[in-house]
């Protein structure tokens, strides 16, 4: 992989509907992608607390995702932790830039 950031195809742009998320491997990096009212957001698929996979769940209030393990809640638009885990973990999601090109949602990686 080149060191310069590059956009890589992740999913077709009709793969997930608003309010849905999915998980996909992009150039060896497990990435979760969320559709928030037609806009796509990408973040590391493993919860930064204890590596629980996040992608595939429905969003709450169209933009929030809750880790099924210890209930950290994140805003998938910013990666911010909006509610700490049961035991107080407040780490944030790792966010990747996205764009839609020729029918594909792409994720920018270094």
């Amino acid at each position: 992989m080149p060191d310069e950031p590059t956009f890589y195809d992740a999913i077709p742009d009709d793969w997930i509907s608003p309010g849905e998320t999915t998980a996909v491997d992009v150039e060896g990096i497990p990435v979760a992608i969320a559709n928030v009212d037609g806009e796509y957001f990408a973040f590391g698929n493993f919860c930064p607390h204890q590596a629980t996979p996040l992608g595939g769940q429905a969003l709450q209030r169209n933009c929030l995702i809750t880790c099924p393990e210890h209930h950290s809640m994140y805003d998938v638009r910013s990666g911010d932790c909006v509610m700490p885990s049961d035991d107080g973990f407040t780490g944030t999601l790792t966010m990747f830039e996205t764009r839609v090109l020729d029918g594909a949602v792409q994720v920018r990686l270094r």
């Binding site: 497990p30 493993f46 204890q50 590596a51 393990e69 990666g79 035991d87 790792t94 994720v107 990686l109």
Partner: protein, 425 residues
């Protein structure tokens, strides 16, 4: 009622509040995708111990190390000036593995003045420089100076040889080891050169075995059959408590109290232990280690008798120093998300008498028995974790170091992912 004082927060776990006290997920030990990230995020970024300088006794001594987790093999060599180097074990010509004996996947060691590729006979000196190209004139503008072996960052601390597979390590070795580990400096590792080595492929994630050896809560139960029932029953009724735990950066320490086996009633120990004057905890006679004072990092709780200090170096290396004057190392080399190679090595001051030798033999045989008992449960644990029937597991205060290993691994993976972000968001 705790037998040993706990920190003012009430527990060792709460003494490190970032660990939390909730049940823990073992997803990081059953996910192939997470393991692929660990290769890059952990094993290609952290300093890895690959052996001791005693394995390179002379100028020209070398050994190879298979690092399946990083999909490479390395050569560690002492050059003709006495310097220790590490190189990827790969010929620059057409990529053949450079140093191997009968089977290319097996590790080897020996002594030489240069490395010669088996394929087309290219040669390299022990500093990695290419010194000979077969039929050099047949090549096109080839300058041997451009075709040295690919170096691996390599450094030595207290005789332990470490490598780092990163292009540019984020920390030098001393900074990576940090104050808790470097406070062992001065322990006479160089005098404990009688080496006993066990190696086994274990069908469990590498962290599952590390967990087994960083808590002793299991010991009175899992190893009960290893002692006479009078001792086992007493141990089980008492349960296990460590007097001291410490976390320093990515590394961990558990310290335990010892026993004076020679003062126990005969029905509290096996007859062979009395005959050999030895056992799992080691020989009953402490050898002369030539130390005026013990390094300040040892026996932090001031136990008398002191049992052991087990230092868990992130990611996959343990130095376990026994109060009876010997030490062990453990290495856990991942081969897949649910398998790894375990290496257990015992180090003693070389035996001077048959009695000392027998004492070492009994300690080594006892260690092997205990290790096999531990490894048995690991495969049983891994297979059921993979069922995902249960995904959250409660850890008690004696398992605080298990909690830290999994959290620290997730942190390294998260740091790595953040480095992959292609734009400032």
């Amino acid at each position: 009622m705790a037998r040993w004082p706990k920190p003012p927060e009430g527990s060792w776990t709460e003494h490190y509040p970032e660990l939390g006290t909730s049940p823990v997920s073992y997803e990081d030990s059953i996910s192939p995708e997470f393991f692929e990230l660990e290769r890059e995020a952990v094993f290609k970024r952290a300093w890895l111990n690959v052996g001791r300088v005693e394995q390179l006794p002379r100028n020209g001594s070398y050994f190879t190390k298979e690092l399946a987790v990083a999909k490479t093999s390395i050569i560690v060599v002492r050059d003709m000036h006495g310097e220790v180097h590490a190189f990827h074990n790969m010929c620059r010509h057409r990529g053949n593995k450079l140093v191997w004996q009968d089977f290319p996947g097996e590790e080897t060691s020996g002594s030489c003045r240069q490395f010669t590729c088996k394929y087309h006979g290219w040669r390299y000196d022990l500093d990695g420089a290419c010194t000979f190209v077969q039929q050099e004139s047949e090549f096109f503008d080839l300058d041997k100076a451009d075709y040295g072996l690919v170096p691996v960052h390599c450094d030595v601390w207290e005789g332990f040889v470490f490598v780092n597979l990163d292009d540019q390590p984020e920390q030098d070795l001393t900074d990576f080891l940090g104050p808790m580990i470097t406070s062992l400096a001065g322990y006479p590792f160089d005098k404990l050169t009688e080496r006993w080595y066990y190696r086994s492929e274990v069908k469990a994630n590498w962290k599952i075995y590390m967990d087994a050896f960083q808590e002793f809560y299991h010991a009175p139960v899992l190893h009960a059959g290893q002692s006479p029932s009078k001792y086992s029953n007493a141990a089980r009724d008492a349960g296990f408590e460590a007097p001291y735990y410490r976390i320093d950066g990515p590394h961990r320490l558990v310290s335990t109290a010892g026993i004076r086996a020679w003062e126990l009633d005969q029905d509290m120990r096996k007859p062979v232990e009395g005959m050999f004057r030895s056992g799992l905890f080691g020989p009953w006679e402490v050898p002369d280690l030539g130390m005026d004072e013990q390094p300040e990092g040892l026996n932090p709780a001031g136990c008398d008798p002191w049992g052991l200090d087990s230092f868990q170096l992130f990611p996959n290396f343990t130095i376990l120093i026994w109060g009876m004057g010997w030490y062990l190392t453990y290495h856990y080399w991942p081969t897949s998300f649910n398998s790894h190679i375990f290496e257990g090595t015992l180090y003693f001051v070389p035996a001077r008498t048959p009695r000392e030798r027998l004492a070492h033999e009994l300690a080594a045989a006892s260690f092997k028995e205990f290790g096999l008992q531990d490894a048995n449960t690991l495969e049983a644990t891994q297979s059921m974790l993979e069922s995902r029937v249960i995904t959250q597991f409660p850890l008690n205060d004696q398992e605080v170091l298990c909690r830290h290993l999994h959290m620290e691994t997730a942190k390294w993976v998260d740091d790595y992912l953040r480095g992959k972000v292609g734009a400032g968001l």
